[in-house]
Symmetry: C2
Subunit: 538 residues, 2 copies
């Protein structure tokens, strides 16, 4: 970025954007034009700039090198934005339509006030460090309306995030209507008005395309599948049981949390339903990635099933059962021209896992959530690509206590402070924790290349639409900056102190754009830069 | 409560409420009538009741023993509600208009469905364990609109909470317009549109009266007063300084957090401004309690003032300075017919405190926030009445990390989990922690009588209107139940497990009434009662 002196110019009230026609870029251009003409953003601190007299900026001209590049992993998102100190025209040059959307967002953020001013005499050449920059949202434990999802995707685009990882189903509800298996949602959703129809999905996918955000669907299986039992009890193990019976050891429980039920890989009918599901999902979601779940397969569940008990007493193993399942489904996923994303458990789980020979790195990506940098290292050093969503750094739901009822730790006469917040992944992940996490920590240069990027995750045990915006924002903005431009300054030092003021401003702008991001400081701190810092070791 | 069998009856669409006329009860009656006729609440789990055929309930008749009792501490809030299994009329008998409001709320909560059903064949005689059941809201660090405050007061009433402790001012902004000292808000508020006018206050007070919620104002002093410096720099010590200069020991810092400035008790002008403020506030707020602050008077601030330095070097002490201030202001507060509420620090602070002879228990109440049950014990065993808002149990803001910029603990190559959540009072106080706190723990029966009740507190370093509802609710509901009916069952056992299902339903009802309370469990748990419990020791 080059901005030799802090100049600003007026933006013409007749400002226009000139752009080649493109199915998804054109709606984005219209959207940004409306935003630019109407936002008149009030910064918390008015920028100290020299407003040049004379002509206003009249237009922004977009030049795209290759309009045919589809939205997919690994595309070029770079852009070059030039806002001259004289002349009527600003320019935005990008390799792809998707890079142009990133540049339009930057352009919009350089404008404030009424009449509109724009930072000028500036050139920006900008591109992301990591290709995969996402948010996971769990719509099974609690339901979110389509509008909540669209608003989130819109905010992602404003933060230059590009992957909405939609954890659609789990043990608690199955909200996705699948044409080939309509009973899964018909019986497994919470309510009739808590379902996503194919039309809803198509709207979400289109909305994503118009915002440069890929929609990565996840149908978790074979674990986390209790909700399938309403429609298909015959393909399930341990459905509808109490998750952790009295007196059982923790390792013998039936599910990772309340809500039991895993698909039974020994039943041929299972594959009929599963393949219908994969077929329908890959039809509805064009993304080249398909997330196949495979986390937390719990031994106690399969062991509770009579058919599986027979298989085990005949000398079979739990690993063999999972391998059967992965073998049958992985090839089908690949046959649909998809790269399969799995949770790391499929290879790294202590108890039930498959041999890595079953999952060729060419078609497999592993998403890590345990053990911070250690598991990332294990994944990439085995030659797999990794997506990082460490629960110690990137889980947005943590630190709000346990959702379990009747937790005996509260029974004492006067229970004191509950450790790190009473949830397994407590404490709360602050924006600073998220911002400062180095997702390639401890990797060689070659290994680091296999880290595709990161995802912050909002699991919904204690979240639903009432808290969606505030749980995600502005903490996801912190990851977004770390993924796009890094968390260090030119000298390689962490720049979180400087990021604080920037995040205050950006959070305020998100709020004025309708995203209820939570505040990170008293307004006083933004109005008195530096005064809320600490300069001593705490 | 008596409800021998689970009966319900229809509520007539022409249902009416008959009530004596009363300035504040009559609007409440109208409000509840509209709510009852229009709410048609959908419970998460439809109650299993026997709907009796035959006539519907046509009316509720209110009988009030003494309509002249004003809303104040210690009044009778009991009510007796009878919904017969036959006959057209239900009855609500209360000693005061304020008790009738509590009964109306209960009545409204016994109704659901379309057409409306109401639990019947029921008698309820209900009254609170504790007289003081409140929420503290800090409107200085971040600003809340009048509508946010009104919505909160409305929700308090629905939760049978009766004291809105309004922490109006602090070091960060002074939003309250005082007719005698207009510059305090004119210069000390964040912005012109971030002020509370006398008309706003009057609306809030009236709204409180119509909801049976007292408004207890706090103008914090002599500490936490930096915002006064904009209008009156001459009465301040250490205003506008960096709060914790480099290399200073923690105990030598100038303020408890960023934002310096304490009133200077040695300057006679101070008392002119302070008395104007107290005069105006007691004029605007009719409550018999007046909260005079007095928490966290920081030695480093006063020591930084030249005049105070001279006083100290002449042999004076910091305690003497605080005693001068309390002496002059306490008598003035009492002369306004007010009971003075102070934070416990005024007597218990390690460094700066006054002798207890200055504060006669007759006119003084102490609010405790440190050391859990221990400080409550210290206060009541000295003969003072206590309001409990322990930061270990009742602080709603905690566990969201530190708001300080440039915190060096994040600088390490790969900072791990931040202890209990990175804030001094972390972790997050879960609803279970709040529900299970016994505020008279360890007290004798006589001492326990001096505990007036409790307040959950939302300090606003990291809160503002975007998160107001979800930070307060449903956690304040957990305290509300513990304060009104206790947290134990008839056998004296903690009943938090049973409260979980009840809180799910109540939270859902609050959401449908427009309060964005946060979820405490997946919807699945409410739909499958008991299945999300744990029965093993964790």
């Amino acid at each position: 970025m080059s901005w030799p002196s802090p100049l600003a110019r007026l933006l013409s009230p007749n400002f226009t954007i000139t752009s080649p026609s493109h199915q998804y870029l054109s709606p984005a251009v219209n959207r940004y034009l409306q935003l630019i003409l109407n936002e008149h953003h009030h910064p918390l601190v008015i920028p100290t700039v020299n407003l040049t007299s004379g002509y206003a900026i009249q237009s922004l001209v977009l030049v795209i090198s290759d309009l045919s590049v589809p939205l997919m992993h690994g595309i070029d998102e770079s852009y070059c934005l030039r806002i001259p100190s004289s002349g009527e025209q600003a320019s935005l040059i990008a390799e792809t339509a998707w890079g142009a959307m990133r540049g339009l967002e930057t352009f919009s953020q350089l404008i404030w006030g009424k009449p509109s001013r724009i930072a000028s005499g500036m050139e920006i050449f900008d591109w992301p460090i990591f290709q995969h920059r996402g948010i996971l949202l769990d719509t099974s434990r609690n339901f979110y309306k389509v509008d909540d999802i669209l608003r989130t995707i819109g905010a992602m685009s404003a933060n230059k995030l590009n992957v909405f990882h939609w954890h659609i189903t789990d043990s608690h509800s199955f909200p996705l209507v699948l044409p080939s298996e309509p009973d899964l949602a018909g019986k497994g959703s919470y309510r009739h008005d808590m379902q996503y129809s194919p039309e809803n999905v198509s709207r979400i996918v289109e909305f994503g395309l118009e915002h440069g955000v890929r929609i990565l669907p996840e149908i978790d299986m074979p674990g986390h599948a209790g909700s399938w039992a309403k429609a298909h009890p015959e393909i399930m193990a341990c459905a509808n049981m109490f998750w952790w019976p009295a007196g059982y050891k923790w390792e013998d429980r039936l599910a990772s949390e309340p809500g039991t039920g895993q698909l039974n890989p020994l039943n041929p009918k299972t594959y009929k339903v599963v393949k219908n599901a994969i077929h329908d999902v890959t039809s509805m979601f064009p993304d080249q990635f398909y997330h196949a779940g495979a986390d937390e397969v719990i031994p106690g569940c399969w062991k509770a099933d009579p058919e599986i008990q027979r298989f085990l007493s005949d000398g079979g193993s739990l690993n063999q059962i999972l391998e059967m399942f992965i073998n049958s489904t992985f090839d089908y996923i690949v046959s649909m021209n998809r790269t399969a994303v799995y949770w790391e458990d499929v290879l790294l789980d202590q108890t039930i896992r498959v041999d890595k020979s079953l999952l060729p790195p060419k078609n497999t990506i592993l998403q890590t959530w345990n053990n911070g940098p250690n598991n990332t290292k294990r994944i990439v050093s085995s030659g797999y690509r990794a997506i990082v969503s460490s629960s110690e750094y990137y889980y947005l739901d943590c630190g709000h206590g346990s959702f379990l009822g009747n937790d005996s730790q509260y029974d004492q006469g006067n229970a004191g402070n509950m450790g790190t917040g009473g949830s397994w992944c407590g404490p709360f992940k602050t924006w600073q924790t998220i911002y400062n996490y180095d997702i390639t920590y401890g990797l060689t240069e070659e290994e680091a290349k296999l880290v595709l990027g990161g995802e912050v995750a909002l699991w919904s045990e204690q979240a639903d639409p009432t808290v969606l915006d505030s749980r995600i924002w502005p903490r996801a903005s912190a990851m977004a900056e770390a993924m796009w431009s890094g968390n260090r300054d030119e000298k390689g030092m962490k720049r979180y102190a400087e990021a604080t003021d920037r995040l205050n401003e950006w959070r305020a702008r998100m709020v004025s754009r309708g995203i209820k991001a939570e505040p990170i400081q008293p307004l006083w701190c933004a109005l008195n830069p530096g005064m809320c810092n600490t300069v001593n070791l705490i």
